[in-house]
């Protein structure tokens, strides 16, 4: 059975090779289709990804809650938040205490905050051997402390010693805390919290997560709490995603539909030109299903070449133009879609070829 399939594929490839004009036209059409989709929709998708990344980096999904001391918000809020769905990351920050470089007590004071959270390693904070007196500092904070390397001593305004042991990797959504020096605290050491930052796992979850978080704050004075969300940015993100996505899908369907019609028309013309060939095959014993298979495979083979050439050309062109490129999944999907369009377009001509009557095609007047 396998060698019969191999024979069928070989026959189809030989047919494609013997009908070079048709094969080259198919390659050009499918390559053009892939390149056109990549240079239009592909660039749109690439630009969309870039815009979305930009919006995301601005903290689309961030919820920032500020609490005055009168609110009585403490670090146990993280335990309650841990039971909520739709949260990617959360951390609680204490109130500010200024520190200066231990070697320069009169140097620039830099604010430090105690920090609680289970995923502080995202900020570059490692395991603290001496909780409460070991700190990580941002680039800006290190500069203001006069530390060239992220290692050194600092003294708080209350006279406590703090060891700076590492550099913070501060994401954009925490940039409002710059210059930042964070002192990680264990969950067991409960302390007052002045800022709570929660990152929703998706932009559309910002509003429900904000509402849920607010409901578990358990503060003494709700009026002493304020909340900032990026709901408007999240809505903008959804709008960008929806409108550009819709535009891209419409454009892909338009280009593929047009190419499919052209491929079908060309193949139909070629089948009509070679109707005597199909009539002879029928007379000599080819079943209709065999002829359909041969026509489809002999179309699919140049379509694969066309998809590869077009995808490569489109990707190189986008890179040459300096535009953001779509990801590999999109490029592969367009190639597979283009091959499917060619095969579907070849179906009607294949069925016509399979129905050629030997007596009509082979009789000599």
């Amino acid at each position: 059975m396998s060698w019969q399939i191999a024979a069928l594929v070989r026959e189809s490839l030989a047919s494609a090779w013997s009908q070079r004009v048709a094969s080259v036209v198919t390659i050009v059409m499918i390559a053009g289709m892939c390149a056109a989709v990549l240079l239009t929709t592909g660039r749109t998708v690439g630009a969309e990804d870039a815009v979305l990344r930009s919006i995301d980096s601005a903290g689309t999904r961030a919820i920032v809650i500020s609490a005055d001391a009168a609110a009585g918000l403490d670090s146990t809020v993280l335990d309650r938040i841990a039971h909520l769905d739709g949260i990617q990351w959360a951390a609680a920050f204490g109130s500010v205490t200024d520190v200066t470089n231990a070697a320069f007590p009169d140097g620039t004071p830099v604010p430090t905050r105690n920090v609680w959270g289970s995923e502080l390693d995202d900020l570059g904070i490692g395991t603290s051997v001496d909780p409460g007196s070991t700190a990580w500092a941002s680039e800006d904070a290190l500069g203001e402390l006069g530390l060239i390397e992220p290692a050194g001593g600092a003294v708080s305004e209350t006279g406590g010693d703090i060891a700076v042991v590492g550099k913070l990797n501060l994401p954009d959504y925490l940039s409002f805390l710059e210059p930042a020096v964070f002192i990680p605290e264990p969950a067991s050491r409960v302390g007052p919290v002045s800022i709570l930052v929660v990152i929703a796992s998706r932009p559309d979850l910002v509003e429900p997560v904000a509402a849920a978080t607010k409901s578990v704050l358990a503060v003494d004075d709700p009026t002493a709490v304020s909340m900032k969300t990026s709901a408007a940015l999240a809505a903008l993100r959804a709008a960008v995603e929806g409108q550009l996505g819709q535009f891209g899908r419409t454009l892909v369907l338009l280009i593929c539909g047009l190419t499919g019609v052209l491929v079908a028309a060309i193949l139909f013309g070629l089948v009509m030109l070679r109707r005597r060939d199909y009539g002879r095959r029928r007379a000599l014993g080819a079943t209709r299903s065999l002829i359909v298979t041969v026509v489809l495979v002999q179309t699919a083979a140049p379509a694969v070449v066309g998809a590869a050439v077009g995808s490569l050309a489109g990707t190189i062109s986008i890179a040459a133009l300096g535009d953001p490129a779509p990801d590999l999944d999109f490029i592969v999907a367009i190639g597979v879609f283009a091959i499917a369009v060619a095969v579907i377009a070849a179906l009607l001509p294949a069925l016509v070829a399979a129905r050629r009557e030997p007596i009509r095609e082979l009789r000599v007047p």
């Binding site: 019969q4 024979a7 026959e11 002879r280 095959r281 209709r288 009789r363 000599v364």
Partner: protein, 213 residues
């Protein structure tokens, strides 16, 4: 001798009102070469296509080796054409885009014969019929006589039970025509039936039996 192929009360016409064949019967025995002759328009080629299972009769049936064949479904008739029949058409009907050896071995795919075995047998047949062209040449590079011999090689590749030929010597010189007729007799002697539609009196004279339409 036993009948390899039988036409039993065949009725067929391109219009129902004027049938070309009406209740037409004949038997074609193993080992004989039968010529079908008659004026143009009497349905000689149509009869050949009926016997070759390419047309379905309105009434009657075609029987191959004692088994009804014309009433089979299209796929089964196609497979039977590929495995039990050989065809030689008037103008050879070769695929101009493929090589000579590809043309000779074309039917191997249709009957599920291995390509290697088909290539070996195809080269033997080309040599046997004196087709002195490269196997990778295209049909456009050979003469009419050579093209018809190539078509004959294609027809004989599967050692068919029935060989049908439509004006096989119509475009051939006497020497090429002689090669073709000798091949028909040689193949009939293997136990096959050979049916030849022709206007050529010389060919008719060399057949074992003549049916006039």
């Amino acid at each position: 001798m036993s009948a390899v192929l039988e036409a039993r009360e065949l009725t067929f016409g391109y219009s129902r009102e004027q049938p070309l064949l009406a209740d037409w019967s004949a038997a074609f025995d193993a080992g004989e070469v039968v010529a079908v002759t008659g004026p143009s328009g009497r349905g000689k080629s149509t009869l050949l296509y009926l016997l070759g299972l390419m047309l379905a009769p309105h009434n009657g049936e075609v029987v191959l080796d004692g088994r009804p064949a014309s009433a089979l479904r299209d796929g089964a008739r196609s497979r039977l054409r590929g495995s039990a029949y050989g065809f030689v058409f008037q103008d050879a009907a070769l695929d101009a885009t493929r090589t000579v050896i590809d043309n000779v071995t074309e039917t191997a795919l249709y009957r599920g014969q291995s390509r290697h075995a088909a290539l070996v047998r195809g080269r033997e047949l080309l040599e046997q019929f004196g087709v002195a062209v490269r196997a990778d040449a295209k049909p456009g590079q050979v003469s009419g006589g050579q093209a018809q011999r190539i078509a004959l090689c294609r027809a004989l590749l599967g050692e068919p039970r029935v060989l049908l030929a439509d004006e096989p010597t119509g475009n051939l010189d006497p020497a090429s025509a002689r090669v073709v007729v000798n091949a028909f007799h040689a193949h009939a002697n293997t136990g096959a039936a050979v049916v030849v539609v022709t206007h050529d009196p010389a060919l008719v004279a060399q057949c074992d039996r003549t049916i006039e339409l």
